[in-house]
């Protein structure tokens, strides 16, 4: 039975003596992040590995080879499989060993536990829930603790959570109020919720039992909870009671693998695999059928020279057929190679290093480069169709700059030359010059409100270490510092802080309740206009609203400030309500919210501030490039429409010529009709405008990109969106959704404002699942973007100011928005081209590898005779042809990076998985078939007279196979060479090296009588082959005939059009040494 809360006896002391004390069972403090133990490693790891469909397939083939009498020895498929499995097992074993080591380090870490007044050293893993643990400065907490005692006088301690969420600033945590100084005599129980992964949520209650007194109850919140993994700072030592241990700590709960994202290329691979599986099965079926048809003819089944054994004769016909079928499967199974998976994995793993290594992604400010969390999605970066971007911190710097304020409708402008204000928060740099003055009294009130209401901010900055001056003030002129400092002093001297009504994104405001020296109780409230205006006297609104709206259209962030006097009764009521809500164990959030809402009414408006949130570096250029690359950019923000709109203009997402289609609460209310009706009408209207009247999109071009057409921009807000998505009737909902999507798809940019984090994810999900399943990318920097980052195909985190949560949950993290351009246009494009070519090439090379073997069955009585020697069968994919394609897939730049960055439109060429469409797949398949046929029949005609040497001696079947194989290895390697546009020395090395290795290996393999081989089939076959002029001539002929049509195609398909110049920027066949910058 799951209980909603747990009860913890602090120091294992039961609350009352007469009650039977049953210590509740909790898990121990052992962290187990390792997957295996020494004992279960082998079975568990093997099981996990063979759960992969490909490995399982190869295992089946291997088993068939072992059990059934098959043409190739089990070694041919067993060896590569064994290699792959072993390498993976070693890698996973090593990783697990590292985890074991890390676990042990954590679990064996010595800690001090207070037991019955004695300090006892223990290993960390021995901590039990209820133990009182002592932690010293700069040590990490061994489990989740409730802070009971701190060495600091003010009952606080400082903590950094860098290893949890990457935020390196110091956070203040508080001891439980009014606990005894003497922990030994503390008799208390803690009631708290069951472990849950949210780092920032905790609800609990502490009952303190004192002799002969009613138990005192204290509420516990996240500010009392010290998380495992966080580090104690600036505090000598603390004592805390363990509440969550081991795998139940928040850190452990947060350590959960993200759901695996699969790329579109991977889906294509699987589809192609299916086709090849069908080819494989049908080949085997055809051969089996023909075998029995052929054997039906008299004399063919069992000629005297090839007598069957008695067992063969006795075997059931159908069983024989089945084993024949399996044998053919085994013979042709190389068409689906193990090595492809290995190569793809290696390509992804090694390829992702180029992102982390890219110095263009290095940001000197944070001293970090890009981060790759999921290398599986490299190629998806080249396929993005929809970009969902957060506004604050992503498009904009989240670096506020005070612009102006207005008090009672009078405008005050900040007119300092050095407008670079490195302020942390909005109101740090207040008014410098007053043009028209409002009443002195009002001014004072306004400033006071700002200073008081942002006390939290000042405090936060002081938290960064006592030595720090408040950073916010440093850059502003001395008199301002003085002014604010003055008011701060004033606060501490004049006002007593009673309550802080915290900011949250739903209310979009925060308040403080203070008591002045004179005993008046005041509430100051600060927040977004939309959240303040309904809560103040309406007559005051108009004066300010004008300013606020004008500021908003200029792209500034506005805040309104209001206040009210609280009477004694009002305060008492609010105080009681707040205290009660804070103690609530369940639904504390909602209860607090309702109290907040109750208190924050009937205020009077004092003024508003305007702050500019500056755009990120090159935000506009980046957005322009993304749009040019054919991506639909959607801005999803929690901010208000006007601000977001102005940001969009600033980013050039909206142009002057863009016609804006607004679907917001305001437009809905325009007609004065029912919102539903109006919504319906507007949707249809916009749909007609943007979709029906728009000229039809040209075939082949995925999205229109011409200035001749009218651009549309679409704006929707959260409230309307939820109406669209959750319409009252089911049929309407899907219809609206369709209309909405269609409109959006025809707009150059879409702005969704006033979005809750969950709504952001909803939108991403909707687009993701819409027709055509477009590839989506989300980029954001804050915790509120995590949901959409996780939802999108590719999630990108910006290593911004709002902590590390987005980065932790992202697939890729970059320091700045501007890096997105190179990440997508250059890296994404190249990765996609590389892996797409890799996939197609792999299928191709194995088709023309196996096709001759299939054709040979027609000439060997369908007896499953392999055409190639076992060594060649095994080595083909491992040694002879694997390195060139790997090098290609890591180094190829069919268009150089600068050109890709300069011409965003090039990105469209590969949109919609262009290189892995069925058409191209068919082309490659046909090419493989053509080559396979050519290799086989070319040699077949040559062998119509097997006397190929000038001494009249004849060649046998292994010579036949070796000639075909030689042609094959050379052709597929040279085919890749033909496709390579970017020949670095590595390419030269591996391509020519592979061919040389093949020749060397063949000589070597055929030059020695290998004692471990049963038959010396290839003994001197290769050397003899090379002594025949005819063999040379046929090899040259077949290689050239295979490749010449390709060359013709390349020539006739010369790039034309505007991009031709950029695509072919180099003079033909000349070495162009790209100049190295700096």
């Amino acid at each position: 039975i799951r209980v909603d809360s747990r009860t913890i006896y602090v120091g294992h002391r039961s609350s009352s003596t007469n009650e039977a004390f049953i210590p509740p069972k909790f898990c121990d403090n052992r962290i187990v992040s390792s997957k295996y133990t020494v004992w279960n490693f082998l079975p568990k790891n093997l099981f996990e590995q063979f759960r992969r469909i490909a490995n399982f397939y190869f295992l089946i083939i291997f088993l068939v080879q072992v059990i059934v009498d098959t043409p190739t020895s089990p070694v041919t498929s067993g060896l590569p499989l064994f290699f792959v499995i072993t390498v993976t097992a070693i890698k996973q074993g090593y990783e697990d060993w590292l985890r074991h080591k890390a676990d042990n380090e954590v679990n064996k870490y010595p800690v001090t536990v207070l037991e019955d007044g004695r300090r006892i050293r223990k290993e960390s893993e021995k901590i039990k829930v209820g133990d009182v643990v002592e932690v010293e400065e700069d040590k990490t907490f061994p489990c989740d603790l409730i802070l009971l005692q701190s060495s600091r006088g003010d009952d606080t301690c400082f903590v950094t959570t860098a290893s949890l969420d990457g935020e390196s600033n110091h956070k203040t945590h508080y001891t439980v109020p009014d606990t005894e100084k003497d922990l030994e005599s503390l008799n208390a129980t803690i009631e708290c919720e069951q472990p849950q992964p949210d780092l920032y949520k905790f609800v609990g209650r502490m009952h303190i039992y004192k002799t002969n007194q009613e138990p005192a109850v204290r509420s516990l919140g996240p500010e009392n909870l010290l998380l495992k993994g966080a580090t104690l700072k600036n505090t000598q030592k603390i004592c805390g009671v363990a509440v969550y241990t081991g795998m139940e700590t928040k850190m452990a709960l947060n350590y959960q693998g993200k759901s695996q994202k699969r790329s579109a290329v991977e889906k294509s691979i699987n589809a192609f695999l299916l086709v090849y599986l069908c080819i494989l099965v049908s080949k085997a079926l055809v051969c089996t059928t023909l075998k029995y048809v052929w054997q039906g003819k008299p004399g063919q089944d069992e000629p005297w020279y090839n007598e069957k054994t008695q067992r063969e004769k006795d075997t059931n016909l159908y069983l024989k057929m089945f084993t024949d079928f399996l044998s053919f499967m085994v013979l042709f199974n190389f068409i689906i190679p193990v090595s492809m998976y290995v190569t793809v994995e290696m390509q992804k793993f090694l390829g992702s290093f180029f992102i982390t290594w890219d110095k263009d992604f290095f940001d000197p400010e944070i001293k970090e480069g890009a981060l790759v969390n999921t290398s599986d999605l490299n190629e998806e970066l080249g396929q993005v169709e929809y970009v969902f971007t957060d506004k604050t911190g992503t498009l904009t710097q989240n670096n506020m700059e005070f612009i102006e304020c207005c008090i009672d409708g009078f405008q005050y402008k900040y007119q300092d030359e050095s407008s670079e204000l490195d302020g942390l928060c909005v109101p740090d740099g207040p008014v410098s010059k007053l043009q028209q003055k409002a009443g002195r009294e009002r001014e004072e009130l306004f400033l006071r409100a700002l200073c008081l209401c942002h006390t939290v901010q000042v405090k936060e900055s002081s938290e960064q270490g006592q030595a720090h001056e408040q950073r916010g003030f440093i850059a502003s002129s001395p008199d301002e510092v003085a002014l604010v400092k003055g008011t701060v002093v004033e606060r501490s001297s004049m006002y007593e802080l009673l309550h802080v009504l915290n900011f949250d994104p739903v209310r979009r405001r925060m308040s403080v309740i203070v008591r002045s020296k004179s005993g008046e109780t005041l509430l100051f409230c600060k927040g977004a206009d939309s959240s303040i205006f309904p809560r103040v006297k309406q007559e005051e609104v108009e004066r300010i609203r004008m300013h606020v709206e004008r500021n908003a259209t200029e792209g500034y962030r506005t805040l309104c400030v209001a206040y009210k006097y609280l009477s004694e009764e009002e305060y008492a009521q609010a105080d009681a309500g707040l205290r009660e809500a804070r103690l609530a164990l369940q639904d504390r959030e909602q209860k607090l919210m309702s109290v907040y809402n109750q208190v924050e009414t009937g205020m009077s408006l004092i003024g508003a501030t305007a702050v500019e949130d500056r755009l990120q570096e090159e935000a506009a250029e980046t957005m322009e490039a993304l749009q040019g690359a054919g991506m639909n950019v959607w801005v999803l923000t929690g901010d208000k429409m006007e601000t977001a709109k102005s940001t969009c203009y600033a980013c050039r997402l909206f142009q002057r010529s863009t016609e804006l289609l607004e679907l917001t609460v305001r437009t809905l209310e325009d007609g004065g009709r029912r919102r539903e009706e109006r919504l319906h009408e507007l949707l249809l209207d916009y749909h007609k405008k943007a979709v029906q009247d728009a000229p039809p999109v040209k075939a082949g071009v995925t999205r229109r990109w011409s200035s001749a057409n009218q651009d549309y921009g679409f704006i929707i807000d959260g409230a309307t969106l939820s109406m669209v998505l959750n319409s009252s009737s089911e049929s309407n909902a899907s219809r609206y959704k369709n209309l909405f999507l269609q409109i959006c798809q025809n707009c150059t940019a879409v702005l969704c404002c006033r979005m809750a984090p969950l709504q952001k994810a909803q939108i991403v999900k909707m687009v993701k699942n819409s027709k055509g399943c477009p590839i989506t990318l989300s980029i954001g920097d804050g915790a509120n973007d995590v949901s959409m980052i996780l939802e999108a195909h590719v999630g990108i985190g910006i290593k911004g100011k709002e902590g590390r949560q987005a980065v932790r949950n992202s697939d890729y993290a970059i320091p700045k928005l501007k890096h997105l351009k190179k990440l997508l246009l250059a890296h994404g494009h190249l990765y996609y081209v590389r892996i797409a070519h890799l996939v197609q090439y792999f299928f191709y090379k194995n088709l023309c590898f196996i096709l001759p073997q299939f054709l040979y069955q027609f000439f060997c009585g369908y007896s499953q005779q392999p055409l190639y020697d076992a060594a060649y069968l095994t080595m083909y994919n491992i040694c002879f042809t694997s390195m060139p394609i790997l090098a290609y897939s890591l180094l190829e730049q069919h268009i150089c990076i600068e050109v890709l960055l300069d011409n965003a439109t090039l990105y469209r060429d590969i949109a919609k998985n262009a290189m892995l469409r069925w058409g191209l797949f068919l082309y490659w398949t046909l090419l493989g078939v053509f080559h396979g046929l050519l290799f086989f029949f070319g040699v077949r005609f040559l062998f119509s007279n097997p006397a190929l040497q000038d001494n009249g001696q004849v060649f046998g079947n292994w010579s036949y196979g070796t000639i075909v194989f030689t042609v094959l290895v050379f052709t597929v390697t040279l085919k890749l060479a033909l496709d390579t546009r970017h020949w670095t020395w590595i390419n030269h090395f591996v391509i020519w090296g592979s061919l040389a290795f093949y020749v060397f290996f063949s000589f070597f393999w055929g030059g020695i009588i290998w004692p471990f081989l049963k038959q010396q089939r290839l003994y001197f076959v290769f050397a003899n082959m090379l002594s025949s002029v005819s063999a040379w001539l046929v090899i040259i002929l077949l290689i050239l005939v295979s490749l010449l049509p390709e060359i013709l195609l390349v020539v006739f398909r010369k790039p034309r059009g505007p991009n031709a110049r950029q695509i072919a920027p180099v003079t033909p066949l000349s070495y162009k040494h790209l100049k190295e910058d700096d």
Binding site: M251, P303, D358, D950, G952, V954, N957, Q1016, L1037, V1066
Partner: protein, 338 residues
């Protein structure tokens, strides 16, 4: 699990490799390269093609089917496969000098030496003279592994089915038969004869075969393959070696003898010839055919029209394509030259 504290100095290396800026050669196939390339390839191919074709045309081939399917064939009487010894004589004429050295092949059709089960039915260790395997042949040889509990040497289907027709060639000069000397040396691969196959180092050779039996289809044991010449006996008998190199296709020919000696060193002069065949090898049961082939060879081996024609066709196509390309380029002026 615990993230390492980030290093402060983690600026990426600025090397050509990490920044994907390795100096690179970026070849572009342009008309200026492709057209001359095609022309030269075409011309070279035509040249080779002509040489191959002429050479192939100059090679003389004489094929004689002696299976004896038709009643008119002199070997018809032998084709009933009663198993007893049967000789037949095929007569043929040569109109003009058959230039030497003449190579004498035998050919088999619809004979699957490349059957998988057949082609693995061999014990290589026996054939290297390893006496352990004489008493205990490999299982792969089954059903030609043991005969009445005695090991077969050489075991296996390939060895058992060794071609055992023998031929004698006579020129009819004035009604007299004049034997054409046939040279049985150097018909197998040098490596097969000298390194791959070895007789057991026991003299006399027959002692090594004590306790073994000959393959059931063989008229004589392995040590009796060539009693006159010890260097051509046992496992290094050239006919045996030729047979053991399994053919690639079901219609194949294998070298039987070379005519290099005496009066016939320069070739077979025009005249009447008589081929005396010891007809032992049954092929009609599986609808096979037997033939003898006289051929001379050139630097490219035996007669093979395919290579010459293929080279000529591909060469001409290359030239043709380059002409087409030239026309296309001249007409549409690809944005190459501007």
């Amino acid at each position: 699990m615990v993230k390492e504290v980030k290093e402060l100095v983690n600026r990426p290396d600025n090397t050509a490799y990490t920044q994907q800026r390795l100096p690179a050669w970026q070849p572009m196939l342009s008309a200026g390269i492709v057209i001359p390339g095609f022309v030269s390839i075409g011309l070279v191919f035509i040249g080779i093609g002509v040489a191959l074709f002429v050479t192939s045309q100059s090679i003389q081939v004489l094929e004689i089917d002696y299976t004896g399917v038709e009643q008119s064939s002199p070997c018809f009487k032998c084709s009933d496969q009663t198993g007893k010894k049967c000789d037949c004589v095929m007569n043929f004429d040569i109109d003009s000098l058959f230039k030497g050295p003449v190579f004498f092949y035998y050919g088999l059709s619809n004979y699957f030496q490349n059957q998988r089960k057949y082609s693995v039915s061999i014990d290589y260790n026996q054939l290297t003279g390893d006496l352990d395997y004489f008493t205990n042949p490999d299982d792969a040889c089954f059903p030609f592994q043991n005969d009445r509990n005695k090991p077969i040497v050489p075991c296996g289907a390939i060895a058992n089915s060794m071609f055992n027709d023998t031929f004698q060639l006579f020129q009819l000069v004035n009604g007299q038969k004049k034997e054409v000397p046939l040279d049985g040396k150097g018909i197998a691969w040098w490596t097969d004869y000298n390194t791959k196959y070895r007789n057991p180092s026991v003299t006399p050779l027959r002692n090594a075969f004590n306790g073994t039996v000959k393959p059931p289809s063989w008229p004589q044991a392995a040590y009796e393959l060539d009693t006159k010449d010890t260097s051509n006996n046992g496992f290094i008998n050239q006919d045996f070696l030729v047979w053991m190199r399994t053919a690639a296709l079901p219609d194949f020919r294998k070298l039987y003898r070379r005519i290099t000696e005496g009066d016939y060193a320069s070739g077979l002069p025009a005249g009447n010839y008589s081929l005396q065949i010891a007809y032992n090898y049954p092929v009609l049961s599986f609808d096979g055919r037997k033939k003898v082939v006289f051929s001379n060879v050139s630097w490219m081996g035996g007669k093979n029209e395919f290579l010459g024609i293929a080279y000529l066709v591909i060469g001409s196509l290359c030239v043709l394509m380059s002409i087409v390309m030239l026309i296309v380029y001249a007409k549409f002026k690809f944005p190459e030259e501007d």
